[in-house]
Structures are given as C-alpha cells and as structure tokens.
C-alpha cells in the first residue's frame, strides 16, 4: 500500500493537478467562446521555453520571467484574434479545431528551433529537491501543483462571482446576443477569457518544468490529456476539471508504474473511450434535450 501511494498515487495526484489546470483553462475559454484551444498544451510549453531562451541569452531570471509572461500574453492575444474570435459561438466546431491546431503546429515548430526538440532541464522554477511529508517522499514542486490547482480554481470562482469583468464574461457565456445588446463586447469578453486561460497556462508551464523535463514536442499530448480530464469532468465545469484531472493523473501514473512507459498514452486513450461509452457528458455535465 505504501508503495502504491508513494509511486503511483502521490505523483499521480501531482501530475493530475497539472492536467486539472489545463482542463480548468479549457473550461474558462470554452464557456465564454465555445472554443477549446488545441494550442493550449503548446502554450504551456512556451512559458518555460521562453525563460530558458532568455536566461540562455544572458538575462537575469526575474527579467526572463517577466519577458516570458509578456510573450505569453502577446501570443495569446494574437491567437485569440486570429484563431478564436472569428469562430466564437459560431457552431462551426471544425473551423476553430483546425485553426487552433494550426497555431499549435506553428508554435511547436518555432519552439523546436532553439533546442531541436530535445528535452531540457529547468532549474529556474520551484525546487524539486526531495522532502519528507508524513513518511512519504515528495518535493516542494509536487506539493505546489496541488496548491496551485486549488488556488487557481478559487481565484477564478472569485473573479467570476465578485468582479464586473467576471460577471460580463458569465453573461456572454449564457447569451451572446443578450450580452451584446447591453454593451458587452464580444472582443473584450473573448480577450478576457483568453488572458485568464493564458495566465493559467503560464502557471502550468512553470509547474510542468519544475516537476519534469521540458519537452517542447509534447504540446499536443498535454492538450489531449487535458481534454480527457475535461471529458471526465464535464465540459465547462471547473469542479469537473479538478476531479477529472486528478483521475487522469493517477491513472496515467499507475500505468507508467505497473506497465511499460509507452503504454501510458494507450491507457489514457482507453480511459477516454470508457468515459464516452459510460457517461458521455462527464461527471458534472448535463445531457441536453435535442430540438427538432
């Protein structure tokens, strides 16, 4: 039992928190714009990669962080303008799936230029040294992922319920025409949602880099895992994203421990199929009645 907790459960929860963060970011963007950003996983990679490039060019770490944040938001808003806003709540899913995929491809290729797709060690994040907690070995970085997930979710809840911009994007999410008719601009709502989503991606990126090697080509894989978490928890539900992420994390970590590492994707894929067969709208989602 101790082995299971040590080698599968704890690391799984820590990894799962990362997938949960990706799923939360999906939920933020999806509820307002109806778009799932296929390039999100790549954006997660962009944060630590930019820091590495900046530090490699000689900049002090804290400036590298600021620069990376600016780049993230800049790229995010550009992406929002080019690949998200034109298809906002349009009902043509194929269009935004393909355009955000296009962004993912471009970003992945750009990130491959500085380091030719090799994995890099990231030493500028949260410490990865071993510490003992309640008889189990873990690291500050691992603990930070769980804390980050809870903190981000709480911050989002506060934002949505207690601030005017949060109220506005909730309104836009419920009824686009109604929101526009009272002066809430689509562009502003979409940009706000995207910025929030990018900020979550930035946090996620630092956590990923602190807990494992940075592999820039894994962008789509992270997108996929985040989506499986979303499918489990229900589209657009922050609580669902949390639960879904943790489940995916534990399942994938268990697969890595008890089977060969190369079977992990297969197991997670299988998990997605199971979700679709058993409960297509996720744990917290709602089935809709078809209109004719």
């Amino acid at each position: 039992m101790h082995d299971f907790v040590q080698s599968a459960l704890l690391p799984g929860l820590s990894e799962g928190a990362i997938y949960g963060l990706i799923a939360v970011a999906f939920a933020v963007l999806f509820t307002t714009t109806g778009v799932i950003n296929f390039a999100h996983g790549q954006m997660v990679m962009l944060m630590p990669m930019t820091i590495l490039v900046a530090v490699g060019a000689g900049l002090p770490v804290w400036i590298a962080y600021v620069l990376a944040l600016v780049v993230m938001i800049g790229v995010g808003l550009l992406q929002e303008w080019a690949a998200v806003r034109p298809f906002m709540q349009s009902g043509h899913s194929a269009s935004w799936i393909l355009s955000t995929l296009g962004v993912s491809v471009v970003l992945a290729e750009l990130l491959a230029i500085p380091y030719a797709g090799e994995s890099k060690n990231f030493t500028h994040g949260i410490s990865a040294e071993r510490i003992e907690v309640f008889g189990f070995t873990t690291s500050p970085a691992n603990v930070a992922t769980a804390i980050a997930l809870l903190a981000v979710s709480a911050a989002l809840m506060f934002f949505y319920r207690k601030t005017k911009p949060g109220l506005e994007i909730r309104a836009m999410a419920e009824d686009v025409d109604g929101a526009e008719a009272i002066g809430i601009s689509r562009a502003r709502a979409s940009q706000t949602a995207m910025t929030l989503s990018i900020l979550v991606a930035a946090v996620t990126g630092i956590l990923v880099a602190s807990t494992q090697l940075v592999t820039p080509s894994l962008g789509l894989t992270y997108t996929f895992y985040g989506f499986v978490a979303t499918a489990m928890g229900g589209m657009g539900s922050v609580a669902g994203a949390l639960v879904g992420g943790l489940v995916v994390g534990v399942v994938s970590q268990s697969a890595a421990v008890y089977f060969d590492g190369l079977f992990v994707n297969l197991v997670v894929f299988g998990l997605l199929l199971v979700v679709y067969v058993v409960r297509p709208h996720g744990l917290f989602g709602r089935a809709t009645v078809r209109e004719v």
């Binding site: 043509h92 393909l98 290729e109 297969l266 894929f269 199929l273 679709y276």
Partner: protein, 610 residues
Amino acid sequence: MAFELPEFTRRWRPAYEAARSTAASGYASLPQPVRNVAASPLAQSVLLLVVGLLFLISSGPSSYNGYVLQLIAVYLVATLGLNITTGYAGALSLGQGAAFAIGAYVTGVLAGAHGWPMWAALPVSLIGGMVVGAAIGLPAGRLGIIGLAMVSLGMVLVVNDMIVQFRTVTGGNDGIAGIDPLNGFGSTVVQSEWFVPTAILLVAAAAYWLHARYRLSGFGRATAAVRDEPIGASALAIRGYLTKVSAFAVGSGLGALSGGLFAYLSAYIAPDAFSPNLSILFLVMVILGGAGSRLGPVVGTVILVLVPLQLDEYPHVNVIVYGLLLILLMRLRPKGILSRTSAPAPHGVDEIATATEYTAPARTVGSLVLEISDLRKSFGGVHALGGVSLQLRTGEVLGLIGPNGSGKTTLLNVMCGHYTPSDGRIELRGTEIGGHSPASIAAHGLARTFQTPKTFDGMSVEEHLALALDRHDGDPTRIQACRSGALRLLELGGLDPRDTHVRTREGGTLSHGQLRFLEIATALASGPSVLLLDEPAAGLSATEIDGLEAVVSDVAAAGVATIIVEHHLDMVSRLVDRIVVLDLGKVLWEGPPDKLHDDDAVRAAYMGVS
C-alpha cells in the same frame, strides 16, 4: 467581424467571380452526354493516369521530378481517403496520419522483413486501415465533432507509441529498411525501375476512381445528405449510422494504402516520419482543394507537395507554412470547410422532368392509413401531449391547428419518430411505429416537411430529387401523381428541372421560398402514403399558396393522406376535409371547416389570441 482580404484583391474579385461563373455556366451548357462523360469517374481517373504516365516517361522514373510525381500520387491516395471521411461525411478526423503509419508499417513488416510481394502486402495494409477506421467509426455517431477530433488525435499519439513499443516487429526507432517489390513470396527483387512508379500511379488512379464513384453513388448521396442535414436525411429514410462508419472505413483504408505505397517509394520507414503533423498536412490538402468536392484533393495535394518543396532547404519553415495556411484557410472560409460539394445526379431529375401529367379524379376518402390512440408525451414534468387520438384515411386532407404551445409540433415529432411516446399507440398502415427511428418510419411511407426547410445546402437540386427517388415503392398511380405534383411544385418555385442551370444549383444558393418548394417536391417525389406538411404556407404569396393547394388536392385524389399544420386559416379552410384543433396537448375540437368558427371554446382558445 470576419477577416477581410486586403484591398487590392477586391479589384480582382469581380473578374474572378465572372470567370468562375462563365466557366460554370459554360460547363452547364454543354450537352448532357458530354457532361456525363466529363464527370464520369472512369474518364477522369484514366485522364489522370495518362497525364501521370506521360510525365513519368518524360522525366524518367529515377529522376527527382519522377520522385516528386510519385510523392504526389502517394499522398493523393491518403488525401482522397480523408476527403471521403471529412469531406463527404463531414466527420473531422485528425487520424489520417495514424492510418498512414499503420499502412506503412504493415507493408514494411510484410514486405521488408517477411518477403511478401507487393500485390499481397498492399491489400493487407488496405484491410488493416479499414478495420481500424471502422473501429473508430463505430462510436463516432455518439461523439460529436469535438469528441471525434480528440479520439482521432489520441489515435495518432497511441499509434506512434505502439510503433516504438513493439520494436521486435517494427524495428523501434531504427525502423525498417529494404522495402523492395518482390517477384513472389520470399523471392528476388523486381529489376525494372519502372515497376514501383507505375504501380503507384495505377493505384492512385484506381483510388481516384473509387473516390469519385463513391460520391456519385446513391450511398454517397446519402452520406452527403446526412452530413448536411441529418434530420432532413432521416425524413428521406436514410440511416446515418452506416454512412459514417463506411466513410471512416474506406477513408482510413485509403490512408493505410497510401502508407504502404510510401513504404515502397522510400524503401525505408522510421517512426519520426509519422507525427501528428502528417495528419494536419493531409487535412490542409483536403481543405485547400475544397473538402467534399471530387477534384479538390488533386488540387490540394499537387499544390501542397510542390510549393513547400521550394522551401525544403529551410528546416521548420515547411511545417510553419502548413500551420499558417491552415489558420488562413479557416479565416477565409467562415462558413466551414466544405466547398463545391455537389455532384451530378441526372437520372433522378429526368424521371421527374418527364413525369406525365396526372389528371386527378374526384376525391374520395378510403381506408384507414394512420391511427393514433391516446398518445401522450411528457418532457420531465411538462405534459406536451395529454392523450391525443386521431384517425387519417387515404385520400383525406386534415388540417391541424392550435395556438402556440398546443402541442402541434410535438405531435408531428412523435409521429415521425424524433421523440418516443410516453404512452399510447401510433399505427401506420397497420404497423405500430411508436418509438421507431425517423428513418424507419419514413421508409414505411411517411414523408414530412419542416417549418424551416431541412434541405441540403451542399447538394444540387437534382441530387435532392435523386435522394427521394433512390427509395420509393408502392402503388404506381400514386407514384405517378406524386411525381407530376413534384414537377408542378418545382415549377411554382421557379426551379424548372429541365433547365440544366437550375438542376446543378446547390441548396445553399437558393432562396427561402425556393427551398420550401424544393423540400415539398422532394418529399412528394418519394411517393409517400402519408404526407405531413408543417406550416408550408409561411412566407408564400397568394398565387404560390393556390398552386400548393392544387397539388395537395391532386395527390390526395390519388390516395395520399395529408396532414397540414397551419396558422393560415383561409388556406386551411379551402383545402381540408376536416380540422382538428389542439389545445394544451389535447384535441379540443374536430369537425368540418365551415363549423370551426361556430364553436365558442375554439374561439376563446385559438382566435382570441391575435
């Protein structure tokens, strides 16, 4: 706020549009036999083959140009396959790269490691791809576009892992070398350098033929109909499920076949050649040429193999260009990825256009054809139908009226199979149909039109009629009357089926009024026993309504039983034999039209409100 092309292109727009429509109408003006030949899959594929061979002969099979030609042909097969899945069936699949990889490895292992000849290895790849495709296609119906995209993405990631994992079979990261065409099982390598290139061109031409033939077949039409408007398709007795599974199977099969050809072309395969980027490349090829069209994949593949080759010297630029191109294409096509998706279907229209005039005898009411007994339907706590009983006989025209929220549309939807009854029975021609699927009920002879016409935007007028004619049965007199009626309705709507310019117009270019007439004509063309018209007169002029009334009356005389749901009381009173008034989910009153205004309850419930 759609993306707008830069100012300077606007000057060329009119010229471009003029050129395009001249070409289109020039094509439409050619005599039918010439158009038939030009559009024939056999002619087109033979033409492609001949062009390819000429090119091959002039540049030489082992030259650089020869290699490029073969690469185009190889990728074309995969693009054709993806066009069937994503273009014809409208199912966005990110997994064509995975099918390609599977096919490459199956052929690589069989031919490279186990000495199979080409004519044995390639078919196994094809079948392997089809099996995988069918497996993805089976749950595809439940998944929705996003789910399907993610599942196919997952497939790509998994296939990559599996290739590396089973390294004893696949050679892992080292790959498989020495994939050469053999003279027989475990035999010597074929000496001629023409063998592989010619084989590739032949297979590509055959794949083109299959792909074009698929679209022109009744099954292909059904596939396109389900893509454009699944509810309208089910109203024409088309079952969507099989069309989607088939599209996946064939599409992935061709993808795998393409991978097998690639294995022979490069004689060596390794996992890093097969990444999600390959799936995206195939998607861009399909979309660039116009997803859903027949020639589109050829255009897309040629452009996307030739152009980036110029950029080959700069690593990474290729892929960045694909990505940017994909974003740009989506911005330029805000209505989705399909384009020029209609296909010819002349035979159907010919039958309608030559329909002989039907002289209607006097109208008589015959035997019971539809019986509804105590039908109830609840949604959660809402009782939409609280026990409706209704009888309809052949040759009868029944008007169904009632205020908003009375349950008229719910009743129609339950009759047609979109909702399952909570209680009660519906019998059509003696068979219980309550709870059956819409397609199955339509197949029993029930045709329906909708408040908003459920026609097919990407299909031509002649294809609509062909869809209806693909399935028909029953009494010849009734069918003759229906066809004649359909012809008159088309003419009323300004859609003369004898005019080739009209026949080939896509549903998406027609006006609302024209679509309404097209929808009713299509419903009639299938020769139904029972016709349900849902607010057919909305938005029509007085002359158009008169024409519609005459047609309904005539086909009723031939035995078609009709229910019309309408607000337009004048039309209803002139045409129907009987009126049923619904209110709050129950039958409030039933009787002949001239007695309608006498009843106090009806006046209060229905006409008091506007």
